[in-house]
C-alpha cells in the first residue's frame, strides 16, 4: 500500500459540502479574518521588525539616505553611554511612577465619591470625561497659559496661598518644570482612572458591603477589606495602562517645555523623537525604542507577577 493510499483511507475525500462540524480554510472564519490579520501584520509587525533591523545598522540621514552598514550592538552600547538618554530614563521613570500613583489614588477617591447617591453626581460624571476627551497637546497648551507669570491662573492662586512661584514661571524653572508637566498629566488622566474604577465599583454587590457593615465594619474597613479586593483586577489593569502611557509621555512635554529648561523635562519620548525625527539618526533612535520597549515589558511582567502572587 502506498502512502497516498494510506492517506486516502485515513482521510476520506471531502465532498463539495463539508460534513457538519468540519470546517475548511475556505468556509471557516479564517478567510474573513485574513484581511484584518494581513493589515495588522502590515501596519504593526512589519514596522517593528524593520526598526529592529535598523537598530543594528548605521542609518543616519545626515550622512546618507540609505542605511550604510551593520554595526552590531553599537547603537545599544551607545545608549548606555549617553548621559542624555540615561537622564531621560531616570526622569521618565520618576514621572511615570509619581503620575500613575497620583492618578490611581485620586481616581479611586473620586470614583468613591461619584458612586454615592448625591445630587449633581450625573453632571459631575459628564464633566469628568471632558479632560480625557481633549488632545494632550491641547491640554499642554492650556496649562502653558495657566502657568504663565503674565496673568496665569495657577501662579496667581499659588501666590494667594503664600506659595513662592519662581520668577521664571513654573515651567521656566528646572526645580518646578517637571512638576508642572506632571500636574497637567494628572489633571487630564485622573478622570479616566475615576471612570474605570467607577465602572468597577458599580459591579461590586451592595449586599457584601452591607453585610460587612452589619458585622460592624467601619466604612474604611469595608472599603479596604471588601471593595478594594473586588476592584483589584480593574486597578491592576488601569495602573498598567497609565504606567505605559505616562512612560511614553510626549505631547504635553513637547508643547509645554520641549524638554527644558535645560534638560529638566527631557523624557524618553522626547529624546527618541529628537534623535529619530529631528536628527534623523534612525539607527540610534530604533535602538532606543527597543531598549524602552524591553524596559517597559520587564517592569510590567514584574508588576503582574507581584500582583498575581498577592492575588493568590
Amino acid at each position: 500500500m502506498t502512502t497516498s493510499e494510506t492517506v486516502a483511507i485515513r482521510q476520506p475525500r471531502h465532498s463539495s459540502r463539508p460534513m457538519a462540524g468540519q470546517r475548511s480554510f475556505a468556509n471557516g472564519p479564517l478567510v474573513w479574518l485574513l484581511p484584518s490579520i494581513l493589515t495588522l501584520l502590515a501596519v504593526s509587525l512589519y514596522p517593528q521588525l524593520y526598526s529592529l533591523v535598523n537598530s543594528f545598522r548605521f542609518f543616519n540621514l545626515g550622512v546618507s539616505p540609505e542605511p550604510l552598514n551593520f554595526v552590531g550592538l553599537d547603537n545599544f552600547a551607545r545608549a548606555f553611554r549617553d548621559d542624555g538618554f540615561l537622564g531621560a530614563v531616570g526622569r521618565t521613570t520618576l514621572f511615570a511612577v509619581v503620575a500613575t500613583t497620583f492618578e490611581i489614588v485620586l481616581g479611586i477617591f473620586i470614583a468613591l465619591v461619584l458612586n454615592q447617591k448625591l445630587r449633581g453626581v450625573n453632571v459631575a460624571r459628564t464633566l469628568l470625561i471632558m479632560p480625557t476627551a481633549i488632545a494632550p497637546a491641547v491640554a499642554g497648551l492650556v496649562f502653558r497659559h495657566l502657568y504663565s507669570t503674565e496673568g496665569g491662573l495657577v501662579p496667581f492662586l499659588l501666590e494667594a496661598m503664600g506659595v513662592d512661584v519662581p520668577a521664571e514661571g513654573i515651567l521656566g524653572s528646572p526645580r518646578t518644570a517637571l512638576l508642572g508637566v506632571l500636574a497637567t498629566d494628572v489633571w487630564q488622566w485622573t478622570p479616566f482612572v475615576a471612570l474605570i474604577v467607577l465602572a468597577g465599583l458599580q459591579g461590586v454587590p451592595s449586599e457584601l458591603v452591607e453585610a460587612a457593615q452589619v458585622d460592624g465594619a467601619s466604612p474604611v474597613r469595608a472599603f479596604w477589606s471588601v471593595i478594594l479586593p473586588m476592584l483589584k483586577t480593574v486597578i491592576v489593569t488601569v495602573t498598567l495602562l497609565r504606567f505605559i502611557q505616562t512612560f511614553n509621555v510626549f505631547d504635553i512635554v513637547y508643547v509645554e517645555t520641549r524638554g527644558g529648561p535645560g534638560v529638566s523635562t527631557n523624557v524618553i519620548g522626547l529624546d527618541i523623537y529628537y534623535n529619530g525625527l529631528s536628527y534623523y539618526d534612525i539607527g540610534y533612535a530604533s535602538a532606543l525604542t527597543w531598549i524602552v520597549a524591553i524596559f517597559i515589558a520587564a517592569i510590567i511582567n514584574v508588576y503582574l507577577a507581584t500582583a498575581g502572587r498577592r492575588n493568590r
Partner: protein
C-alpha cells in the same frame, strides 16, 4: 478537492482587493490629476499671502494647487518621510535653509540651475540678493530652490522709551559706533525702569531649546567672530574640527547670558513668536530678531488682526557690530524647490517661478489685512508703494546685503543634530545649570563625538569653496545668455 461556496470566495477576494486598493490610495495622496500639484510649506507669513493669491495663479495657468501648511517640525518629518520612501505626494516643498544640504545630498530636490538659465528673463536671477540665494538656495554650486521669504536680523526698539530715559537712538544703518557693548549698555539702562506706568525689561530672548535659542544666539556669536568649524563652507578643503570652545564663543556665551538677565525670566521657555509677543505687549525696550518681526509685532497675536500695544511706537535699527570683527548677518528663511519624485515637474516649476517673482511678492506684501515684507529681490526694496507700508525696508536690505547664513549657522548635512545639542546646552546655561565655560566645553566635546560617529572627522569627501562671492558670480552667469 477542497472547495468553498463561490459567493464566499468572491466576497473574500473582494475584501482583499478592497484592502489593497485602500492601501494604494494611501500612497497616492497627491492624486493623479495632472493639473493639480501639492505644495508643502511652513506656516510662516509668506504661506498666508500665497494662499490668498492662489486663485489668481490657478486662473492664469490652469494649474490647481493644493497648498498644505504645517509647522516647522512637521515640515521636516513629513517631507523626509515622503522623500525617503520616494513618494510623489509632494511636488513643491519649502525646506528650511538648514536642511538644503541634506535634501540635495540625498537626491531629493531637482537642480533648478538649468531651468533658471533657460527662463532667465522670467526668473531674473540678477535681481536676487546674492546673500539670500547663497544662504537659502545654493549648495555646492547649484541652485535647488528659489527664495520666497528671506529673513535677516534687525533691532526693534521703542523710541518713546528711549526719549523718556534720555538714551541715544540706535542708527537705522550699520555704524561703527553701534556696537554690541553699546547695545548691552542701553538694555541695562532700560531694564527695571518704569515708563508711562509700564515696568520695562531691557530686552527679551527666545530661550527655548533647541532651535529658537540657537537662532538668536548664533547672531551674536557670528558678529563676535565665532566660527563653528576650522574651515567650512568657504574653503577648498573642508575641515569640520569644531571651534566652539574658542575665546570668541566663550565671550559670546557670557554676553548672551547677560542679555537673558535683562529679559523676562519666563523667556527661558520662549519660542520664536513668544519673544515678538513680549515686545508687542510694550514691556520690552529693545531686542534683535528675525526681520519678519519688524511687521509681526504690529499685531497682538501671530498673523492676528488686532493691533498690538506698540503700533506707531517702535522703530527698526541696524544690527550692532563687534569692533575689529567683520560683521555677519544671519540669514534664514524659506525657498521653494521641486521634489525629485514629483510627476508634475513642469507645473511645479511654473508655480515656483510665480511664487518667487517680484510681482507676486509685491502683491503678497500689499494684500489688505495681510503683512509680508521678506523679499529676497533687490528691486522690491526701492518700490515706493512698499516703502510706504514698510518704511524700514532700507535697514532690512542693509542686513541682507551683509548676510551670510552659512557662516552664522553652517549648513553641514547633519546640522539638526548639532543644533539639538548646542541649543539644549544654551538653554541649560540660561537655566543656570551650566556656566558659559562649561557650555563651551560641553558643546565642543559633544560636537566632536557626533562628527566622529558620523564620519565628518576627518573629512574624506570632496569639498567646495562656498562663498557669497561664488553665488554672486553664479547668479551673474545665469542672468547672461550662454
Amino acid at each position: 478537492m477542497t472547495s468553498c461556496h463561490p459567493l464566499r470566495r468572491r466576497l473574500a477576494l473582494a475584501m482583499i482587493v478592497f484592502l489593497c486598493a485602500g492601501l494604494s490610495a494611501c500612497g497616492l495622496r497627491g492624486g493623479n490629476d495632472p493639473n493639480t500639484i501639492t505644495v508643502l510649506a511652513v506656516q510662516d507669513p509668506f504661506f498666508y499671502g500665497l494662499q490668498k493669491l492662489l486663485p489668481e495663479f490657478e486662473k492664469e495657468t490652469g494649474i490647481r494647487v493644493r497648498l498644505e501648511g504645517v509647522d516647522y517640525n512637521t515640515l521636516n518629518a513629513r517631507s523626509t518621510n515622503s522623500f525617503l520612501t520616494r513618494q510623489s505626494d509632494i511636488d513643491v516643498i519649502s525646506p528650511d535653509s538648514m536642511w538644503l544640504s541634506r535634501f540635495v545630498n540625498s537626491g531629493w530636490l531637482e537642480d533648478l540651475t538649468p531651468l533658471i538659465r533657460r527662463d532667465r528673463h522670467e526668473v531674473r536671477p540678477d535681481d536676487f540678493i546674492p546673500g539670500a540665494v547663497h544662504s537659502l538656495s545654493e549648495w555646492k554650486g547649484g541652485i535647488y530652490t528659489l527664495p520666497v521669504a528671506a529673513y535677516g536680523t534687525v533691532v526693534l526698539y521703542r523710541p518713546d522709551v528711549f526719549n523718556e530715559l534720555g538714551l541715544p537712538m540706535p542708527p537705522a544703518k550699520p555704524s561703527p559706533e553701534w556696537t554690541w557693548d553699546a547695545y548691552l549698555e542701553t538694555i541695562k539702562a532700560i531694564d527695571g525702569k518704569t515708563v508711562n506706568g509700564q515696568r520695562m525689561y531691557g530686552t527679551v530672548v527666545a530661550g527655548s531649546g533647541p532651535q529658537p535659542v540657537l537662532h538668536m544666539y548664533s547672531q551674536v556669536a557670528a558678529s563676535k567672530g565665532v566660527r563653528w568649524f576650522a574651515s567650512f563652507p568657504d574653503s577648498q578643503r573642508w575641515d569640520f574640527t569644531p571651534q566652539l570652545d574658542s575665546p570668541e564663543n566663550l565671550e559670546a556665551l557670557t554676553y548672551f547670558r547677560e542679555l537673558y538677565r535683562h529679559s523676562p525670566p519666563e523667556s527661558i521657555n520662549y519660542l520664536w513668536f513668544d519673544a515678538g509677543t513680549a515686545f508687542s505687549t510694550g514691556k520690552v525696550g529693545m531686542f534683535y530678531w528675525w526681520t519678519p518681526y519688524a511687521y509681526l509685532v504690529r499685531k497682538s497675536s501671530y498673523m492676528g488682526t488686532k493691533d498690538s500695544a506698540v503700533v506707531g511706537k517702535y522703530a527698526v535699527a541696524a544690527l550692532p557690530q563687534e569692533p575689529g570683527k567683520e560683521q555677519v548677518s544671519n540669514v534664514g528663511g524659506y525657498a521653494f524647490g521641486i521634489s525629485s519624485y514629483s510627476e508634475k515637474k513642469a507645473a511645479a516649476w511654473t508655480f515656483v517661478k510665480w511664487a518667487s517673482s517680484a510681482e507676486t511678492q509685491k502683491k503678497m506684501a500689499l494684500l489688505p489685512g495681510h503683512q509680508f515684507a521678506d523679499f529676497a529681490r533687490r528691486s522690491l526694496y526701492s518700490d515706493p508703494e512698499l516703502l510706504k507700508v514698510y518704511d524700514y525696508l532700507p535697514t532690512q536690505l542693509s542686513v541682507l546685503e551683509k548676510g551670510d547664513g552659512k557662516v552664522a549657522r553652517p549648513p553641514i548635512p547633519n546640522y539638526t543634530t548639532l543644533e539639538g545639542d548646542y541649543g539644549q546646552a544654551l538653554n541649560q546655561m540660561l537655566a543656570g545649570e551650566l556656566t558659559p565655560q562649561e557650555t563651551a566645553e560641553q558643546v565642543q566635546a559633544k560636537v566632536i563625538e557626533i562628527l566622529r560617529n558620523e564620519h565628518y572627522l576627518p573629512w574624506r569627501q570632496p569639498s567646495y569653496a562656498d562663498t557669497v562671492e561664488s553665488t554672486t558670480r553664479l547668479l551673474e552667469r545665469l542672468g547672461r545668455p550662454e
